[in-house]
Symmetry: none
Subunit: 216 residues, 4 copies
DNA sequence: TATGAATGAGGCTTCATTCAT
DNA sequence: AATGAATGAAGCCTCATTCAT
């Protein structure tokens, strides 16, 4: 019989980073599931190995926890895009890859999209208090600016493309696919949310994105 | 003794429909502003000429009220589109008009869009209880089916266009423009939300919609 | 067997003033006993016929309740003095009566004095928010001003007496007798707090007050 | 290697008395500012160079810390009076000096007075547990007894003066001046709390004290 | 001797809802 | 049809205190 066997309730003993990460992970799920006001601190703690008090110890209050959850969500969203290495591809191919990847990535991480939607319900007030999030997001725009410049230079892109509008369009497509799925599928059926339907939508997005920039 | 003698505080006396309409209008604003869980019954009643008991009298509970608010929102959204009289125009022009109109209409009625977004946060559970909403929404799809048929017949539309996908795309564009404005504009600036920016986005939508259907 | 027999838990049915008065009376005791921070809302409600929710319904929060308790305490303190009818007596007699009465009145209402002491611990911040209390307290000063004027006119008072200083002195004597009784009697014994001791102190106060004003 | 090498953050290392004195000094301010229940252990520790555990290590708990703070306050109050060397002066002059000094000393050390007032709010329960405080305070009474005896012997004091009553009166005057300043000045203005006003009050106290003992 | 991490108990407050008239 | 009074349940948060190192 080994000693100190199994997971006791107090299994995070003296492991601040572990505790914080545990809380953040669970809170991400609960906030994404129920929204800010709908989420219950007790529900978050119930799914955690820690005690309720630790939320206040590390995050101050419910709002503070939510703000950190939101930051983490943005960080991981942009982190994905950062790893695409778009510079290695010809501009049109790079754009196609970015659009398709963004579509898939949003689809695979619906919680982050839901958190952003929730944040919009609250008029972005937590986002406005964050200092880290804005920094993260400027990357995507500069990346698209590079892409457009390269495309113009090699003659494949028109010279009047607005990188911001391009980003807006891709985002609209990928975000709506997650954020409005419940009502859309209920009203119009599941066809577009089957694997086949999603592939068609992704193909549509790629087509649209390329059409936006391609020389006619 | 004249009738309608001045506006008293209790001016809804003996006017059930007026009371209900008043509550619904206020509740629409409050729910759209704060979400379902974030909205307060007291806040709704405060902005109303009625007393709190009336909400329970006419709508059962908070959920019931919200469901009716949501129904009204959907009704008015579709009502707008119904008045377009698309049959009178050639298919391409009709589609362009529909897309542009939808963009503007969403922009002019952000509360309804927010309510739909909120409903999605709650996994569409109120929508599923409604009997009237699904009926309303089938119109738009049959309208697009008509449009596509006419387009194919007169040779302006390709014959593989999916009306549902068309609707999805237009919706994505128009809904995202409202639902994610707070975070998008905070992170990337207001450029796309000025009048000029919005005109560019609307033009983009029209171009995209026509590209989706046009024979190449 | 009579119907509706005895006091049920819900005995304040539809009697707002009764509920408010009940809460105020109990809260006065509890705050006076334990101070503001030390007082427990639950303890207040336990001694009440009402439910906890009513405190928030009628008084907003703990601070609001305390502020109203303080107002009531000041009101009753000054109310006592107001009924003395000092104008009917020759100035010196009137002053003697006022001093003796104040001493007794404070002694008979230690809760009010404790509340004022507690308020001082909190730097008078609730008092500063009250609009009614300052009005109440100006009476006592104008009363003393009248008294001094009459005394100067009939030659019994010196003409350099400051009514405010007179009030301050009487207050110091009467308040200290209550507010510091616990520590003083523990350190120096109970002699001055027996009935005989208190009579000596009251006599001392009267002597002092008269000495302050009397022509030498 | 020099000793006492610079001021590090952890400058109390290995200096138990320093740690205790630091905690006591800070706790005195915090308790005096907010009362016993209103004071926060975290606030005390925040203003300290030490860690929270030390409070429990040296003082047991919040009550224990408060008791020691109170003891220190009484000690320093009486310490002042002890240095007056009243025996060197004729009785009347000695009394005048004692009264004036007490007035000034209270005024210069409002924190100690506030602590005593706070202790009274709590019905003197910490004081009752102290063994050292009663010893300190007997001095002042024996001092006054000496004074009165000398006064009677040299014919300047009446022979029916109660030293305890004398002490009570001086205390009432000096304590009230601090303990009720917030409410009194808010209700009746600052006149008596300016330097000029305070001088008048001090002169008043001296007059009163002498009147209490002087042969008529 | 000293510390940062962790906590159970209990505090205040808010919420949607029902009652009595 | 309509209202102000009243509430139980549950929410968020804070406190003094102890644990593990």
């Amino acid at each position: 019989m080994k000693r100190n066997e199994g997971e006791r309730k107090t299994s995070w003993k003296q492991d601040p980073e572990g505790v914080k990460a545990d809380i953040l992970a669970v809170a991400t799920s609960v906030f994404a599931e129920s929204g800010f006001s709908g989420a219950r601190i007790d529900e978050i703690i119930r799914r955690t190995k820690t005690s309720k008090r630790m939320i206040y110890y590390y995050f101050g209050d419910k709002s503070g926890l939510y703000a950190r959850v939101l930051e983490a969500a943005y960080a991981r969203l942009r982190q994905g895009e950062g790893q695409l290495d778009l510079q290695a591809l010809p501009p049109l191919e790079a754009l196609a890859k970015l659009a398709a990847f963004t579509f898939d990535f949003h689809r695979e991480n619906p919680e982050y999209i839901r958190l952003i939607t929730i944040e919009n319900i609250h008029h972005g007030k937590h986002l406005k208090q964050s200092e880290t999030i804005p920094k993260l997001n400027s990357q995507i725009i500069t990346g698209l600016e590079d892409l457009c410049r390269r495309g113009v230079e090699d003659g494949t892109f028109r010279d009047d493309v607005d990188p911001l509008e391009l980003h807006w369009t891709i985002s609209a497509f990928c975000v709506f696919n997650i954020s409005n799925r419940a009502t859309f599928s209920h009203l119009y059926g599941d066809d577009l949310f089957t694997d086949a339907g999603q592939e068609r939508l992704r193909a549509r997005l790629v087509t649209m994105a390329l059409d936006m920039v391609r020389v006619r």
